[in-house]
């Protein structure tokens, strides 16, 4: 079945002044209408915000192409903007305007009829937890409230794609959890696609299904987090008591590899398709008692560090790395 990617970049290059900020990024991310979230990761200055602003048509593309929801960013900027909601990283409000009035204007600018815009403004403000404060001027809001107001204006018109730039910046733990819950709700219950740009790996890990990692304007890693999680589940750390001398052979018979690290500690790699039940049965047959068992998996932090480090190593060892390897950078 043919699906339109949420974002499709083809050798995208963006130059600001004399610096080339995005240096030839190519990727296809997500599928529109599936309610998936894409994480955009990278260290400071990697080009995350520049990429977002380019997708919004705020920066000119110097070479290559970018498509959002199947539409070209240059020639269909207006159509794209009508279908997305954007929450910027920085402050974005009119200080002496009440939240409900501000949202109403934003709704009408997005194309909502005026009566519906007012209704939606109230509805969304209640939904993000600003119902009681909706008649207060935005200038009097705390940082956390301003973040919620920014989220509210981005979802007001029911966009297909939600682009969130550092949505949890400056939030206390409770507010952060609430923000992440709302974002998850947007994609899971309301079927919105989400692009989440953040330097907080835990936020991305909690919300996103796919992730791309940028470093110095290049894409260094693209991963499907669901697949990564599934793949990494095959790494098992086991600690047993009893005579485990025959465990290695028993594992080998099942097609698994086991390394005895001494003291009853084992590292096991399962073959594809093998489930944990098999291990339980093996251990039971050997009369071993399990003290500790973990599905060891790479956290996003490890993936991120490897991706960023991988590029640095690649550059040092092979300065003229083939472009495919640099761009796709699968580890």
């Amino acid at each position: 079945m043919h699906t339109t990617p949420i974002i499709e970049l083809q050798d995208l290059r963006v130059r600001l002044g004399r610096r080339e900020i995005l240096q030839g990024i190519s990727c296809r991310l997500g599928a529109s209408g599936t309610g998936k979230a894409i994480g955009l990761l990278g260290p400071n200055g990697a080009g995350k915000s520049t990429l977002i602003l380019t997708l919004l048509g705020f920066h000119k593309i110097s070479a290559g192409s970018a498509r959002v929801l199947g539409l070209d960013c240059l020639s269909h900027s207006r159509e794209i903007k009508a279908r997305i909601g954007y929450m910027p990283e920085n402050e974005a409000f009119i200080a002496d305007m009440t939240a409900v009035h501000f949202l109403r204007i934003m709704g009408e600018l997005s194309g909502l009829p005026h009566r519906i815009a007012l209704e939606k403004a109230h509805e969304v403000l209640f939904h993000v937890g600003l119902g009681e404060a909706r008649y207060r001027t935005l200038g009097t809001y705390s940082l956390g409230m301003k973040q919620m107001a920014k989220l509210a204006q981005s979802i007001l018109h029911g966009p297909e794609l939600l682009i969130l730039d550092e949505p949890t910046n400056g939030l206390d733990p409770a507010a952060r959890l609430r923000m992440l819950k709302l974002i998850r709700e947007m994609k899971e219950e309301h079927n919105m696609n989400v692009v989440l740009c953040s330097h907080l790996l835990r936020d991305v890990e909690e919300v996103c299904d796919e992730v791309i990692i940028l470093n110095e304007g290049r894409l260094v890693h693209q991963a499907n987090l669901e697949e990564e999680r599934h793949t990494n589940r095959r790494f098992i750390e086991l600690e047993v008591t009893g005579d485990d001398g025959e465990l290695a052979d028993a594992l080998q018979e099942q097609g698994a590899e086991g390394v005895n690290e001494g003291g009853g500690r084992w590292r096991i790699v399962f073959p594809p398709g093998m489930e944990l039940d098999v291990l339980w049965q093996l251990v039971a047959r050997q009369n071993l008692a399990i003290h500790h068992l973990t599905h060891r998996r790479d956290s996003l932090e490890e993936i991120f560090l490897k991706a960023v480090g991988h590029l640095e190593r690649s550059e040092k060892s092979t300065p003229e790395l083939p472009e495919k390897e640099t761009i796709d950078g699968r580890l």
């Binding site: 600001l16 002044g17 004399r18 610096r19 602003l53 919004l56 705020f58 920066h59 207006r78 159509e79 903007k81 009508a82 997305i84 954007y86 910027p88 920085n90 402050e91 974005a92 409000f93 009119i94 200080a95 002496d96 305007m97 009035h101 204007i105 934003m106 009408e108 600018l109 997005s110 194309g111 909502l112 009829p113 519906i116 209704e119 939606k120 109230h122 509805e123 969304v124 209640f126 939904h127 119902g131 935005l138 200038g139 204006q153 979802i155 007001l156 018109h157 029911g158 709700e185 309301h190 079927n191 919105m192």
Partner: protein, 286 residues
Amino acid sequence: MAVYRRGYDRYQGPITGRLSRLLVLPKYSWHRVLQQRLVVSLLVGAMFYPLGCIGFVYLSNHTELLLNFDSGFKEFLQIDGNFFLIFMNVQGVFAIILTIVSGRNLIAPDLSNGALQLYFSRPLSRAEYVLARLLVLLGLLSLITWIPGVLIFSLQSGMAGWSWFAQNWNLGLGVFIGSMLWILLISLIALTCWAYIRRKIMAEASILGVFFVLNAVARIFNDVLGVTWASFFNPRQVIDRIWNGLLGITPESGPTVLGCWVAVVVMTAVLLMVLRRKLRPVEVIS
């Protein structure tokens, strides 16, 4: 069901058209502007002169009421180009003051807290944003410039008859075009000052400076150097020459009317370019 009891529901209904979206910003801005007492007072104050003009038109068409006055006074009651030129000058000054008072909250609040990126992340271009802000001032200033001017012209045409209209139709057109040109110029100058100067008082002083100080400076330059080209840098004088031309009045010596038209076009282009440069959703520091 009460709004606070409802959960979020993604809107998937019809959306409004482009023109409707363009008028959103002017609609709310007019609403805000007309809540200011000073603006309403100025609007009322700016109506006194047009009311006086209506009385003047009535008298000039009913000279039988002035039996006790001499013929010189009756000749003074002429509705011609000079009458409308004075009208436009008086209302033009009101327009500057009203622009300063009403327009201070048009652009500056959007720039000071980064609201522009929210506007431009919606289907609204920079050109449409400027047009929307211009429409606010256009609507407001029209109330005290060309609308009463054209009404006075229509009143005079109705009272004086078809022959007067056939001979003087250019006066009505001149009032309309001249006023629109003045509104465009002062609006652009004001929007540019507010976009670039953060402190309101400084921005307002700059707008006054452009119209009054620049006027004096240009005249001094012309007198001291014995030239006329300094007038091209003076919006008031340039517009005054154009008004003279539109109303069929032979102006005093000075720059040509055509030269003044060119000067207005250049000023407008420069102001639009400068505004476009400033009104960006994100600042690029390279």
